[in-house]
Structure formats: structure tokens, C-alpha cells
């Protein structure tokens, strides 16, 4: 079972979900190149100019660990990375769980992705302005955390912190991607997990993904927001379990 994190943070996003599958599955966690504890020197803007570069990495992980019939659980942009990887290696990836998927974020004709090009530019500005002060003001970020002893200092000081240039590039690649034509090529059993009230991947987008992927299952969670793996791990676990 491979858990892939989305844009923004790293594999710690699966902290409350992945461990519960460990007794029954071989659980594989990784950081995308450019995120979390990955080797930043391996980041090549050309390789990662589209989501295909990230899908290549997933395929490589499958080969390296000699996985077959793996369940790929992809959050956010990693849902589409999983779609691309599964199309390439259907015998390696046997099932897809897409958490908050969106094949295209920007509106296009009749298709409503939820965002305009200007919105995406705003996000990039927002990233820029926040990363400027990142190193100086974010360092002693831990406060009032005594009730969460499971979260170590190492995590809290590094979670969601990425190289600003890489984050900007990843944001642009993510939010300008268009993978609508790839959905029809999915041949493996697929679960679409839709959150209620998700500003990034609204219900209509999840329904679109469900419609375009032949034979897929659609489950709407009561969890709100875009990160049910953090906000409602129990419900997320149950939905994944019922499918796998």
C-alpha cells in the first residue's frame, strides 16, 4: 500500500492513517522529490515540469521495491499522479484510492474546476510572501503543543516547510495541470473519496472524476476541507478499508 502526499506538506500528512494499515499491508511512505525529507539536489525543474515526472518516480518506487498489485492512495495532486502511474504499470498498481482528486483546477468552458488563472497567480504570490519570512519567523513555531506528545519537535519544526522555489514550481505544475483525458485510461478498481465542502476539489469535480473513470466507486465523507487524512482520520481509514 503506497501513500502519496499532495501539494503543500509531506508524508506526515498520513501520520494518523497509514499506521493503522501496517498490520495487514506492507505500507510504503515517501516524500515527493522537492518536499519533506527528500534529496533536494535531485529536484530537476525539467523532469518535474509536468506531473509525469512524479508518476515516473512512483513507477520507480514500485520497481525498486518490486511491488505488484499495490494499492496506491494519493491525496490531492497525488491522485492524478497515481492515475498516470497506474496507466503506465497496471500490473504494479492494482487499485487506486483518490483522496480529493481534481484533474484540472482551472475552469475551462463548461468544465468548472473552481479556479481562474488569476486565482492561481494569487496563490503563487501568497507562497512567495510567506516563504520570504519562513526561515526567520517560522523556526520557533511550536507553542501550546503539550497535548500532542506524539508530535515530536523534529516534525513540528519541519512540517510544511519546503524550498520556496521548488514549492512555487510544484504549485504551478499542480494547479495548471490538466489530466482530464487520462481518467478514461484507468483500468484498475478506483475509489474516489470526496470531502464535503472542499474548496480545492469541490464535489462537482469529484463527480466528474467518478464519471470519467470507468467503474469507479464514489464515497462522500462528512469531513470538511481538503485534508480528511488530518481532520477526520477515522472516517478516512474506514472508507479506505471498506474499499480495499
Amino acid at each position: 500500500m503506497i501513500f502519496a502526499h499532495g501539494f503543500g506538506c509531506d508524508q506526515e500528512m498520513w501520520r494518523f492513517v497509514a499506521p493503522t494499515f501496517e498490520p495487514d499491508f506492507r505500507v510504503v511512505l515517501f516524500d515527493h522529490v522537492g518536499a519533506g525529507g527528500s534529496d533536494l539536489s535531485a529536484y530537476d525543474p525539467e523532469r518535474y515540469a509536468t506531473l509525469d515526472g512524479y508518476a515516473d518516480d512512483v513507477v520507480e518506487i514500485c520497481h525498486e521495491l518490486d511491488l505488484s498489485d499495490a494499492i496506491f492512495v494519493g491525496h490531492s495532486v497525488s491522485a492524478m499522479i497515481g492515475v498516470l502511474a497506474a496507466a503506465r504499470e497496471p500490473e504494479r498498481i492494482g487499485k487506486l484510492v483518490l483522496v480529493g482528486p481534481s484533474p484540472r483546477y482551472i475552469d475551462d468552458g463548461d468544465y468548472v474546476g473552481g479556479f481562474s488563472r488569476d486565482d492561481i497567480e494569487e496563490l503563487l504570490q501568497s507562497l512567495d510572501s510567506n516563504f520570504l519570512g519562513w526561515s526567520s519567523t517560522m523556526a520557533p513555531v511550536i507553542m501550546g503543543n503539550a497535548d500532542r506528545p506524539e508530535l515530536g519537535d523534529e516534525l513540528t519544526s519541519s512540517f510544511c516547510r519546503t524550498d520556496p522555489e521548488i514549492a512555487g514550481h510544484f504549485a504551478r505544475v499542480t494547479f495548471t495541470s490538466d489530466n482530464r483525458d487520462d481518467l478514461g485510461g484507468v483500468r484498475v478498481p478506483t475509489l474516489v473519496l470526496q470531502c464535503s465542502d472542499d474548496a480545492i476539489a469541490p464535489r462537482t469535480v469529484g463527480e466528474y472524476v467518478h464519471r470519467e473513470i470507468p467503474g469507479s466507486t464514489f464515497v462522500e465523507l462528512t469531513a470538511t476541507g481538503h485534508c480528511p487524512n488530518l481532520s477526520a482520520p477515522r472516517e478516512t481509514i474506514d472508507a479506505i478499508r471498506a474499499f480495499v
Binding site: G6, E122, S126, V141, C160, A199, R234
Partner: protein, 145 residues
């Protein structure tokens, strides 16, 4: 209540001055329920943004007041950090005021919880289990220009 009403001869009145300090602090204060719905907003914030309290409290969430780009940032960075760390500091976002004007602010947030967390539970989960009053998972946000 109000900044101009300070009776000189009635001695220190801590309740009132604490209230006044909250309402007219040099920063905006917002408190939200675990589902994000705003439950209290101070006068400074209303003054800056041009909203009336009844347009925000019980109606909007903090992220509804951000630009679309800011909302993505909120979902992908801010909310995960707040849930994992219990606090987020000095995040730069634009708040969209009642007239559509943008107010650049720095946001600091604290997630308040009452009792020791369990390893496999996010705040929303525990809210359903324990009830909102027990958990008091209230996010107090301090926005300042």
C-alpha cells in the same frame, strides 16, 4: 463599552477594560468553532474589513474571507499545520473586505484543546466523540496589519 467611555473616578474596572482591550486591540481577533464557523470577532477586525458582526458570526469561516489563492494556501499549508502543531504563526494573507478591497495581514492562530489527544485522532474526530463543549477546540486567530 467603547473606547471613549472611561469614567475617571470609578476606579479600575477590570471586566470592562479587558473587554475594551479585546474589542479595540491594535489587532483583529477572531474565534471559530471546530468546524471553522466564526463565533466571535472583535471590533477592530470589523472596522478594518467593513463587515458587520452578523455578517460573519455564525455565517462565515475564516477561509471564506480570503482570496481564492489564499484559500488554497489555507487548505494546503495553514490548516494542516494548525492541526499538526496546534499553532501557526505569521502567515501572510489578504483578507477581502466587505467592499471587495484587500487587506494584507499577518495571521497567528492557536488551536485550543482541553484534554490529552489520542495518537490517532484529529480534532474533528474528537469533536464528534466528545462534544464541542468538552473539547473546546476553538481556534483563536489574531490578525494584525
Amino acid at each position: 463599552m467603547g473606547a471613549s467611555e472611561h469614567p475617571v473616578d470609578s476606579g479600575p474596572r477590570f471586566d470592562e477594560s479587558a473587554e475594551d482591550l479585546y474589542e479595540n486591540a491594535p489587532c483583529g481577533y477572531l474565534s471559530a468553532a471546530p468546524d471553522g464557523t466564526l463565533v466571535r470577532v472583535n471590533a477592530t477586525f470589523l472596522r478594518w474589513t467593513g463587515y458587520r458582526a452578523d455578517e460573519l458570526v455564525g455565517v462565515k469561516r475564516f477561509k471564506d474571507l480570503l482570496t481564492a489563492g489564499g484559500r488554497i494556501y489555507h487548505e494546503t499549508h495553514y490548516a494542516p499545520m494548525l492541526q499538526m502543531q496546534g499553532a501557526v504563526r505569521e502567515i501572510a494573507v489578504d483578507i477581502v473586505g466587505a467592499d471587495g478591497r484587500r487587506l494584507p495581514v499577518l495571521v497567528n492562530s492557536v488551536l485550543l484543546r482541553d484534554h490529552a489527544g489520542e495518537a490517532a485522532g484529529g480534532p474533528h474526530d474528537r469533536v464528534r466523540r466528545d462534544g464541542a463543549q468538552v473539547l473546546r477546540a476553538r481556534a483563536a486567530r489574531r490578525a494584525r496589519s
